[in-house]
Symmetry: C2
Subunit: 336 residues, 2 copies
């Protein structure tokens, strides 16, 4: 059985292109004692992958040239020599951009498809949801009545941030990149308001959406959204710094915002990486699963079909063309 | 008796000049029940005063045009109708740029001149020392063996930051603006190292002075020092943001550093204003007074003579010409 894989062919300078990837077929290794073989159903595409394509300083080792791209996956076990897994089990893992994964099973988590759709294990109930949960609650520490602003509000992380903020009694204001996304965030996800950063009067709109100022800003993008938010901060504001997608493809580091508002407002910025917070996984899964089942956290998926579409789909993350959690359906989902 | 005062005459745009001030003589109000009259001995000149000259958004109300400039003072009581104070007492207060202060005594603190020189009550044992204490210990939270970097290291705040860092078992590295200041910081104050930001190879020197990277950066200045520090941060670094003197006189807000290192290194920046931390005053005075008496915290004063010299002396804070805690001796110090 051959294993289709997407390899990193070369390191992009600036904006990545589909030329940076190569699709190959590799033979699967033979099954041996202790191994678990599974077929990928969903591959999650996430902004952090851009970092893994570069070999500059980062918090994680880059993908080696000629190796499969990394990524979170939902899979079904085909064959198992490990008693913890049996054929037919759905598992969440980190198998990367390929049709099959084969390992001892370390790091795999068995999913109960009756609790929530299995695709959520790489979205709202996976790394993006956990990023929202720990960044907002542990760093942002929102209090009832405060105003929480989140950028990339229709995305996999931002959508969860705003909905948890509402659950915690806050005013949730999203920033997104189009009227359609803003409509979705305000109407379908139930944020109090959502403004488009592409509006010519974005700052005025954001100010109007935050009449009491901004207490928590969950930062996913950097750039002009950050600068506008800095003008509206309240005293003792908190800024969980999750991502700076506006900067990920630049070749020269752009300057950042002037930090004087942080001083005047005694504000806090804290960068964080979700993988540092694994001690919070159980609390996250317990709470967010309940919220999803109760309909208090909704989500939207943007699914492309076929592993070979992964490179082109990935690029849409940076143009803002995706709308919802971006997934590749690598093989049929037997639960749908 | 006339009271010489320095008034704010106009609001500077950019760099202040002596023309922004006006020296006048005003009559003292008559003594009434409850009042305390005192003669200013020392007036402290500090960078925050630049903020009070402007009417832009800040954490404190600006000085009104035609009113005396604000400032911390050490004074001697001349006459008192308040039983808490008696003639001859030395007091620390906030009487501003004038020869005499007269009020109910609210906010005055009686000094014991046998414990430490009274001038320290506006320096190492006053607001600048307390700024160093709460910023370093409460926000920076240095652990033994960590590396603490502080900018404006020969100044009133920075000199205390590095010496407390040493007391706490850290490597203390200063950044200052001249070889003479660096010599003083390293040799007299006992920092482990001090580098000049004016050196052409400043980044390389800073890197060499911090072979284990930077765990805490006490930020007083902004600009290029901040940018260099961001390249050397360790994971989970903390940055107490105390001041951005490099920006105080600009007319257009300069961009700040790119914040990607904060994300990658999970770093924290927290702006703070010392007056929010008055609950720490007793602990600060107890600990720092002991350290000063034990000779573990040293200080240097840069004293100019006469209230009328205050405007010109104040400007030296922004050119880096002052060397040590900048004080105006408004009247003779009877303890020296």
């Amino acid at each position: 059985m051959d294993n289709k894989q997407v390899l990193l062919r070369k390191r992009p300078v600036g904006q990545p292109s589909t030329d940076d990837f190569e699709i190959v077929s590799a033979p699967l290794p033979p099954m041996e004692a202790g191994l678990v073989l599974r077929r990928t159903i969903y591959l999650s595409l996430d902004p952090y992958m851009r970092g893994r394509m570069s070999d500059g300083p980062s918090y994680a080792t880059p993908v080696a040239l000629g190796q499969p791209m990394v990524g979170h996956t939902v899979s079904q076990v085909l064959d198992s020599r490990n008693p913890a897994f049996k054929p037919g089990d759905f598992v969440a893992g980190y198998d990367g951009w390929q049709e099959f994964g084969c390992s001892t099973g370390a790091g795999l988590r068995v999913l109960d498809s009756s609790v929530a759709p299995i695709s959520t294990a790489v979205g709202t109930l996976g790394m993006p949801g956990m990023t929202a949960y720990v960044g907002l609650l542990d760093i942002g520490q929102p209090k009832p009545g405060e105003t929480v602003v989140v950028s990339a509000a229709s995305g996999a992380v931002g959508s969860v941030v705003g909905q948890i903020a509402r659950i915690k009694g806050c005013r949730a204001v999203g920033v997104a990149g189009s009227p359609a996304k803003c409509d979705y965030v305000a109407k379908d996800l139930g944020f109090d308001d959502c403004v488009s950063y592409k509006s010519p009067d974005f700052l005025d709109q954001l100010r109007a959406a935050c009449p009491q100022g901004i207490d928590v800003y969950f930062e996913n993008v950097g750039g002009l959204v950050f600068e506008a938010v800095l003008r509206l901060l309240n005293v003792n504001a908190r800024i969980p710094l999750c991502g700076l997608i506006a900067d990920y493809n630049v070749t020269a580091t752009p300057p950042g915002p002037n930090l004087r508002p942080l001083l005047v407002k005694r504000a806090l910025i804290k960068g964080f990486i979700v993988s540092d917070h694994n001690d919070r996984l159980d609390a996250f899964l317990r709470e967010c699963t309940t919220w999803v089942r109760e309909g208090r956290i909704k989500y939207r998926e943007d699914i492309v079909e076929g592993l070979e579409q992964a490179p082109a789909a990935f690029l849409r993350l940076f143009s803002g063309e995706n709308f919802g959690k971006l997934l590749v359906r690598v093989s049929a989902d037997p639960t749908r």
